[in-house]
Symmetry: C2
Subunit: 262 residues, 2 copies
């Protein structure tokens, strides 16, 4: 039962489902749910929420404790600050992290915990590097992902496109989504891997406005400290990049305030 519940976060299972699967009474199931819940809570592995009534049941809610998030992000900052990660042009190599399922799941669970109460209907990202983190966050939130394409090519069917300018590179770019991917008036959580000027995130917000979608939050893995004024106002990075010093071969990266705050 633990395996089934934890495997599908925020998915509601009826007591009937378990009672038929395990051939036992609903009261036994209820008692077991209480035991699993106590254990999950005691070891900070998540929570089980039960709802009553016709549509009632039980679902697993991931719930990373502040201290655990902070300690994981501190380790990640340390790992990402390795000078070998400095690439030509002052970029930071983090592809290995973004493509390691275990790391991506940890990051996704922290972001999901952060935005759980905002109840998004879907996670929105733009290809390509943000996709893994967006999927992991959506997995723990129990909702789907919509990925905007950087050009019309990878997107199928009737498109809605916008042009936008990234604040840092000042280049005009295009992003598109399939019309059928988004339901009018739903709630979106924007997730991306990296934010510098916020131009991409603002482009995403404009694209969503075409569908009357409500943006309930914006989460990024790393945001640069400069420029302090980003093109989006409200965003939650896990880490803040103060700078990459190519001369001294040093990366200055730290956990975001909301991660370290008590």
């Amino acid at each position: 039962m633990t395996r089934i519940l934890c495997n599908h976060p925020n998915h509601n299972y009826t007591l009937n489902y378990f009672s038929e699967l395990f051939h036992c009474g609903k009261s036994t199931i209820s008692e077991d749910i209480a035991i699993i819940r106590d254990t999950l809570l005691a070891f900070r592995l998540g929570d089980l929420l039960t709802t009553t009534g016709a549509a009632g049941g039980v679902r697993f809610v991931p719930l990373i404790k502040k201290e655990d998030s902070a300690s994981y992000i501190a380790d990640l900052c340390h790992e990402l600050s390795d000078p070998n990660r400095i690439l030509a042009g002052g970029y930071l190599y983090m592809n290995d992290i973004l493509h390691d399922p275990h790391q991506v799941n940890q990051i996704g669970e922290i972001l999901a915990t952060r935005f759980m109460d905002n109840q998004p209907d879907f996670v929105f990202t733009v290809e390509t590097k943000g996709t893994p983190v967006a999927l992991a966050s959506a997995h723990f939130l129990g909702c789907p992902v919509v990925v905007a394409g950087r050009d019309g090519q990878a997107v199928a069917g009737p498109l809605v496109s916008i042009n936008y300018v990234t604040a840092s590179s000042r280049r005009i770019q295009t992003m598109s989504i399939t019309k059928r991917a988004i339901k009018e008036g739903s709630r979106a959580l924007i997730i991306d891997d990296f934010m510098k000027g916020g131009g991409t995130a603002r482009g995403m917000a404009h694209l969503l406005k075409e569908f009357n979608v409500d943006i309930v939050g914006t989460g990024v893995v790393i945001a640069t400290k400069e420029p302090i004024e980003k093109l989006v106002e409200d965003y939650s990075p896990l880490m803040v990049l103060e700078g990459i010093n190519e001369v001294e071969n040093r990366i200055e990266l730290s956990a975001a305030d909301w991660i370290t705050a008590n």
Copy 2:
């Protein structure tokens, strides 16, 4: 313990780890492991493998039973055969499936079960649509993913690139990977979302050859029936697409033989 083990498939946990976490003796842990194992096996939810010795411990191994894979793939074929999914040009809309974390996890678990014994060191894919399935497969296999870029842009650091021709479109394309992403002489499992002529998969194989990497398998979500002779010899699709009939508005899609075989 179930939550921890199932959350990180194929990751080895020592008995010491659990005995310290739960403040109890190793014999208690061993007994509990036996109980969890019996339950997982009884309900076909996976297996626990224990190893002894200095590096010993216990790990969770996902293990989908043939019947369950077959029934899931049958449902997926039904869902994907909806005529509304036919796109202009005879394409099949499946972005929603590839971006639904629950569906992607199911697909990944089936592919991981298929290739578990081949013991890949990493999963290899090319951006963008294969990435989610590659990550999910890697999650269940307990290994990282390496994603080749379609152009040099999204890839960081020194590159290894090749040009290749997709058998179906006859267009020359480029794919690249960061040199540091791959260890010489390791074992790769190729995963992609769609295979028509096999040109992309062959390009991936050529790129891996530059690193003396051994390809232990190739898994794709959907392969087209035509051309029967693909540019790669050995591949395992989950589903086979016989054709999309735009005139009769019909999609002919079925489960692959190895999925339905007993």
